[in-house]
Homo-oligomer: 389 residues x 2
Amino acid sequence: MDRTNAGTGAGRVGVAGSAGVNLPVLRSHNTALVLDLLRTAGAEGISRLELAERTGLTPQAVSKITARLRDEGLATEAGRRASTGGKPRTVLRLVPEAGHAVGLHLDRDELRAVLVDLTGTVVGERHTSLDLGAGAEAVVAAVAGEAGALMLGLSGAGSVLGVGVALPGPLDHKRGVLHRVTGFPQWNGFPLRDALARRLGGPVVVDKDTNAAALGLAVGGESGSFAYLHLATGLGAGLVIGGALHRGARTGAGEFGHQVVQLDGPPCGCGNRGCIEALCLAAMARGAVDEAAHVLGIGAGNLVALLDIDLVLLGGRTVTAAPDAFLRGVRTVLVERAGRLGEDPVPVRLASGGVAEGAAQLILAGLFNPSGAGSFSPSGVGPLTPSGV
Amino acid sequence: MDRTNAGTGAGRVGVAGSAGVNLPVLRSHNTALVLDLLRTAGAEGISRLELAERTGLTPQAVSKITARLRDEGLATEAGRRASTGGKPRTVLRLVPEAGHAVGLHLDRDELRAVLVDLTGTVVGERHTSLDLGAGAEAVVAAVAGEAGALMLGLSGAGSVLGVGVALPGPLDHKRGVLHRVTGFPQWNGFPLRDALARRLGGPVVVDKDTNAAALGLAVGGESGSFAYLHLATGLGAGLVIGGALHRGARTGAGEFGHQVVQLDGPPCGCGNRGCIEALCLAAMARGAVDEAAHVLGIGAGNLVALLDIDLVLLGGRTVTAAPDAFLRGVRTVLVERAGRLGEDPVPVRLASGGVAEGAAQLILAGLFNPSGAGSFSPSGVGPLTPSGV
DNA sequence: TCCACTTTCGCAACGCTGTTGCCAAAGTGC
DNA sequence: GCACTTTGGCAACAGCGTTGCGAAAGTGGA
């Protein structure tokens, strides 16, 4: 209960702008940096000297940091590299079982819950149906029950750091409050984060499903700036800019579906005309997959022009039902655009990985992201026990 | 010649990602933070305790930092506040004359050059016609001449930290190389930054005019995330996200004008159809200012939806010729959008400040931005002397 | 006029950070 | 078996922000 906003990036300084850096901040920054590199290296591991090169710190500083991490049980030595004429480099790797996180994906009619270790590997999973219309109390109880069931069986050693929740509607990530979830007006203004945190007794982070998916992709290896376009019952986007998830001040970023691409277009459910979502859904309803893909490509092109991103990733039920058509349609538009400008086209790929896994990364981000507040203190974060279940 | 990329944000670590922080980095970060707050406070000044509150550092740390700044001549005491029952707070302020920067705005047919002090106040200005088609050699000579003329008359004390250059075409900010400037193919691939740096013997930074304008606005007091939309012979945007200018990996961000808002729209000069720039310019050609403003508003709405920005600023010759019409047109679209969502509308205002002033901020950013590399070392940056003039 | 009190702010000592100098360990190659 | 290269830890160090403390400079009541 003492740290319900872990990983939200809310600094210790009230001011929104940039904050001063003192030695503890410096320490946690560098520690997170090293942890992130260890995670990226995966099971292969990475040597101290490589860590030093990648961080810009001296080898001695890296030795000190990794020694701390080994003491805390977060890292361990894992073999040696071949020698290049001298003492071979010792390979370090993350200890996956040193910590866990729960990720929840609340969709309109189902709930998926995963338990992941520090590397993001799923070590437990549950899947049930869910009726978002059943009311806040019932849904929170059901969700907490699923999360609690996943957490049982973990000893105190590799405790659960927190619970990340991803769900569709517009919401306020910072305060963890839902806005008007489309189709479920009774959720408007519900403080989901605090309600769950109270029941679970540990840190909870809430975010949009598209943001969670994009975060999962960023952790999964996609680097730089990219957009994740999600086409299912609606059309939304998750934006990763310079390696960091871009939410906007009000968690409103990523409203890709309601960009207007046809000034005099057909009316959209949002009340406007010519939204790309309306055009895509209408085309799909007619069975015109290629046309929907083309329209999606136009939107992706607008995005690339505006933000100069490196990659477009596609996902969502509608896309996975006809992946080749959508890849081809979007790719065509971006290749034509690149040809006009004499640039290399922005690659388009299918997104891999689930939303629940991304939701778990909302918690792990506090450990691996060198952005200040969400620093790690293994002793400070008590094991999350499902007291209210 | 030794530091031609000052202020570009290129870190000392080759890796693109985040870098390790050591004590010198920490020091320059906090110093830049304090300098930025001093700049923001302006002539009124700011007390040490306010600096401590805003940065999150302890008062003692602020005292040490400000003592260094006073020793270096960058800050000075400027009176006292009224007492609140004890010793009154001593007010500190920036010493404007401690440093200068030159800002150049290369437009298609004219050149504006300004000399600004640390606060961004213009202390010297030149204005001449310029023919971008005259060839690189001639233009570089003319531009260097104007910059050199501005710099004469400054003693070594408050020396010139560098020259910032803003110009229209697509270009590579990091390498300082121009791409195909629209209408002037002979500039394609020209290394403008290095050519000017060689001639002037000091740091030079090159950026798009829209980016420079947006940076100038950010320094001028606009906080948070905003978009500067520039409508003149073309339509472009400068994006400030979370207080930082967003350029994209290839300096391609801000191609606002070539977003498609009419799938089957009229052909655009870029080879595509239905670009917002083509629609706006066509409407203006017909004299339909309100229609152009409406279309611009649609684009602004798309931008707000996608990025969740806090503010839209309008500028450019076309806008300043009919400011009320454009403000009304854009505002209407954004107010309608906000009404549909039950949110507060994003404010729309006219942009103030010139592009050349913003170009100068490209240099000053190295002093006031706590983003690592562009740290300040008063003795390290030699006075920029116009040797090649 | 004096005194108690509040508030600001610098000096000195301190703890902690990454860095440097040095050396043992562990390989390769002649 | 020796010279050499490379890794990586130990100890001393410089520099950062922090803490403890006291002087300075006001206010306000007696």
